[in-house]
Symmetry: C2
């Protein structure tokens, strides 16, 4: 459609839409109208409810083009939305992509961005069905909407945790924050320490290409394991506060149980910071935090067998009320605050 070095200005809106359309695989039969009309038309998923969310990546706020490639941005823009659907226990189905691009952005970058987004979409059986492309006055802004479906009795909200439920988190935390710090610091200083460098490469990858826990969220809802669930977009501390506030409960976390990513822990320690506290407040983990009644521990074990090695760690318990506390060495402290989007 255009040469790789051409700018989006030279290619124009219609050329970009043609490019995007060419990168999208054949649409599933339930997409009746896809890219190219005023709106997309989809068959509803029979006997299910619609679930819908949108989230954006704003260059200079959520992404930095010096630290993330166009492909990283495309992947992440979809991943953060899939993570939100996972937190509801929903099966994602369709996505809309809203792109605002500066005049000098390259055709090749658009292709890389959309290719990575479409690749992640394919892995989760999500169809890219529409969106829009426009000029930006400077920052790249990628806004993605994801629609999914869910059975009425399988919805996971933030608001239904009950006292006595145990709190679990998937995977490990802190890696994305450590990876971002490392990237911002110049990303070369650890060359003398190969093990550390290797661990940080993993952390950087977690920052650049978060893996939404779609399967876990689906299983937690479908098998009726969890009472409440939320994703860790703004850090574990923030997620625990939001879930307990929405549920009208409190929580007590065990500092020693919190699965801090080993590379992140070493990174934070090497900077003179306490690893658990740093990991708790570091954002962008995109893991799931969920509450499970003690009586459903067996069901949770069953779910774990289908997670292809993704760890699920018990980190504390829901309490009847009060603030969220962190137990450490026999003492209790209050939880540090998470990331706030307007207070970088």
């Amino acid at each position: 459609v255009g040469s790789d070095n051409a700018t989006v200005t030279a290619v124009g809106e219609h050329g970009l839409i043609d490019l995007i359309r060419s990168l999208v695989p054949p649409q599933p039969p339930w997409v009746l109208i896809g890219i190219g009309d005023d709106a997309a038309v989809l068959e509803t998923d029979r006997n299910r409810l619609d679930v819908i969310t949108c989230d954006s990546l704003f260059e200079g706020v959520h992404v930095d083009r010096r630290l993330s490639s166009a492909a990283d941005i495309g992947h992440k823009a979809l991943a953060v939305n899939l993570s939100d659907l996972a937190a509801m226990g929903a099966a994602p189905r369709a996505a809309l992509l809203s792109l605002a691009l500066p005049p000098e952005y390259r055709f090749s970058e658009v292709r890389e961005l959309v290719t990575a987004l479409v690749a992640l979409a394919a892995r989760h059986k999500v169809a890219l069905v529409g969106g829009n492309v426009t000029r930006s006055t400077g920052p790249v802004v990628v806004d993605v909407t994801v629609m999914g479906s869910i059975h009425r009795r399988r919805i996971l909200t933030r608001a239904a945790a009950r006292p006595g439920d145990e709190l679990y988190v998937s995977g490990s935390i802190g890696a994305a924050a450590a990876g971002l710090e490392w990237l911002r610091g110049g990303a070369g200083e650890e060359r003398a320490e190969p093990l550390m460098a290797e661990m940080l490469r993993t952390a950087v990858d977690r920052y650049r290409r978060p893996e939404p826990r779609v399967r876990l969220g689906l299983l937690l809802g479908r098998q009726r394991v969890a009472t409440a669930c939320i994703d860790l977009s703004d850090g574990l501390a923030d997620a625990v506060c939001q879930l307990t506030r929405a549920s009208g409960v409190g929580a007590s976390l065990e500092a020693d149980a919190i699965p801090v990513d080993p590379g992140a822990a070493r990174w934070f320690a090497s900077r003179g910071r306490e690893p658990v506290g740093a990991a708790l407040t570091g954002g962008e983990d995109y893991e799931l935090l969920f509450a499970v009644p003690r009586s459903r521990r067996g069901r949770l074990r069953g779910v774990e067998r289908h997670l292809a090695g993704l760890a699920v760690t018990r980190i504390g318990v829901v309490t009847p009320g009060g603030p969220v506390r962190l137990r450490r060495n026999g003492t209790e402290e209050s939880l540090p605050r998470g990331y706030e989007h307007f207070k970088e």
Copy 2:
């Protein structure tokens, strides 16, 4: 939640979400989970299909804060999406609002923006069910997603116009473009001519607060009047080209039949420009262009009786192929090009 003069930075993300939630009327029963969780959950409309679209307003590209108030921006961000759904013949149901705001943006401006959006939503029975708020590095960016529903056999696409169909456009065209030009020119120079000033005030209003033709779109689909339909976001010339290209047909328009807004016509003429050509390429009319088989003229008359005075004007005919032509004084010329988002 915050004082009117407080900035969004001082209020913070959670404060803004609380504000938005407080401005949203009680949700209809089919919204099972609304604002405040990871995603919204909606009952599907029984025996209908989902229709979904998103579109954004980027400050400095689509809106100028010196020319449009926060309320204008909120109204328009939803209106352009409702217009897209109208062009499909769909009934809008739910909206998501994705807001990126510069640090110095005022709490009062957020309230005005959301209040205007919610007011337009209420008039069209649309529920605001979710979204996100984030910091911007400068421009205000408002991205709205609208979902609606439609009967399988009532979908209006761009692609089904047939030779012999007559082309109609709703309302009048050119007013938004004239209003914007006037605003950009300083918006005071016409004070000496009261009639002109009054006409231009109407034009400015059309630019700032477009009225999506939701009811017309619904009726065109429901009564099976139109074979194809598109909205005029980028001007009538662009819409005719897109509709005919998608349908694999051509068209012949009658210049004298094109309903140019009288104020816009006077404005363009006073600037030494030919009014029909200027109106054809002026964007942001948000009227509907649609194709109607001659045999359904009677049905269209029936629809017109339910439009509360909105005019519907026959402007030409679909031809078997070839480019789009404009007939004027017995001669034919080719159609001028419309607005292109990357080539301002």
